[in-house]
Symmetry: C2
DNA sequence: GTCTATATGTAGATAGAC
DNA sequence: GTCTATCTACATATAGAC
């Protein structure tokens, strides 16, 4: 692909991220994306064929951009992964736009026949697997933990990051995304290693 | 309001919850809601005036339905609130429809000028306040904890419940909503009372 | 209170000129 | 590669008959 075309592609993708983040993928229109990219909606369709295809490329684009940002620095495994997730939360607190695209599109994806659904199913499956692997390494060092607990903890760590993003987007001054994510991840990791008292015990 | 009219209202609201849950509030149409309620879209508008107003009444309806379900049994304060949240997670695992409406609409609400946004801002503010109050009672019994930690923990508990719902909706067999919620809430509550080691200490 | 008919707006996609 | 023009489809909302 020619460099000029490649730049146009990138510009359209950036515009699409912006618009899908602001309006959602259903409400965001090709015309608005085109305007931000400096062309008409017909031009956008020339590059991406259809709105659905553009959406899928937006989702793939961020993964690619994330990897590029890490340079050849691969995502760490083992206990370092937890620190990496906390660093991600700190980074996300500086880029509400990207956070909003993912929050809106991931929730939209559970609706009927949404084109982004396979992407998010796969994404969460992979991420949960990574976190489970990190827990296995950690527990191997420090003791034995049931498989159900590790599965629950892995899902919970991703969940708390997503859920805090939603509250933070709604009211940025009321939620400290970075600090709350760090506290929650730490609490869940510690909860796996040292179960602690049951909730019931706190009542009377 | 006459009883027959009231029943029609309820029937339309049920249909709207169903459709907004399946398609989102943007993609869900008045025609589909009307069909499920046994009338035409003009009939729906006769009852609710506009689609936007219907959406807002759907959001209010669930709160009202939740309260009715609890009978005159008010939402508990203090440490019992944590057990109540766990019970809610168990109940939610039996009603994917309701969970989906809230997951989809809450994320949609962060988009530009979404009519449901004030509702969700308010909802989270109130819920965080309830959880913070529960922590204060708990910490009063068991020791001193910083305000920032309590705020972070309150947001995190709501966040983990929401985030687990998303993963569970995407892949119900891969995530145990009830069990994972219980584990995460317990871990975060214990994290407030007994901080435990920092994440950094687990590396090397 | 519900219908049919219609007004009005806007979306995504296509065709063909330049 | 980008444009204008147009097609087709479908949405919300209104008007007025029954």
């Amino acid at each position: 692909m020619r460099p000029a075309t490649q730049r146009k592609h990138a510009k359209i993708l950036q515009a699409a991220m912006d618009v899908f983040g602001s309006k959602g993928s259903t409400n965001g229109t090709l015309a608005e994306i085109a305007e931000q990219a400096g062309m008409t909606h017909a031009g956008v369709l020339h590059h991406f064929g259809s709105k659905q295809n553009l959406l899928l490329e937006v989702l793939a684009y961020r993964d690619q951009a994330d990897v590029a940002e890490l340079a050849d620095q691969h995502i760490p495994g083992g206990p370092e992964l937890f620190l990496h997730l906390v660093r991600t939360a700190f980074a996300n607190a500086q880029r509400p736009g990207i956070v909003q695209v993912y929050t809106v599109l991931s929730a939209e994806s559970v609706t009927d026949e949404h084109p982004g659904r396979p992407y998010f199913e796969d994404r969460y499956r992979v991420l949960r697997g990574d976190v489970v692997a990190a827990f296995r390494e950690l527990c191997g060092q420090q003791g034995v933990t049931s498989m159900e607990t590790v599965d629950a903890a892995a899902a919970a760590i991703l969940a708390v990051m997503d859920g805090l993003q939603l509250q933070w987007l709604l009211e940025p001054t009321a939620v400290d995304l970075a600090q709350a994510s760090e506290f929650a991840i730490r609490s869940i990791v510690n909860g796996v290693l040292h179960p602690g008292p049951e909730l019931r015990s706190y009542v009377e």
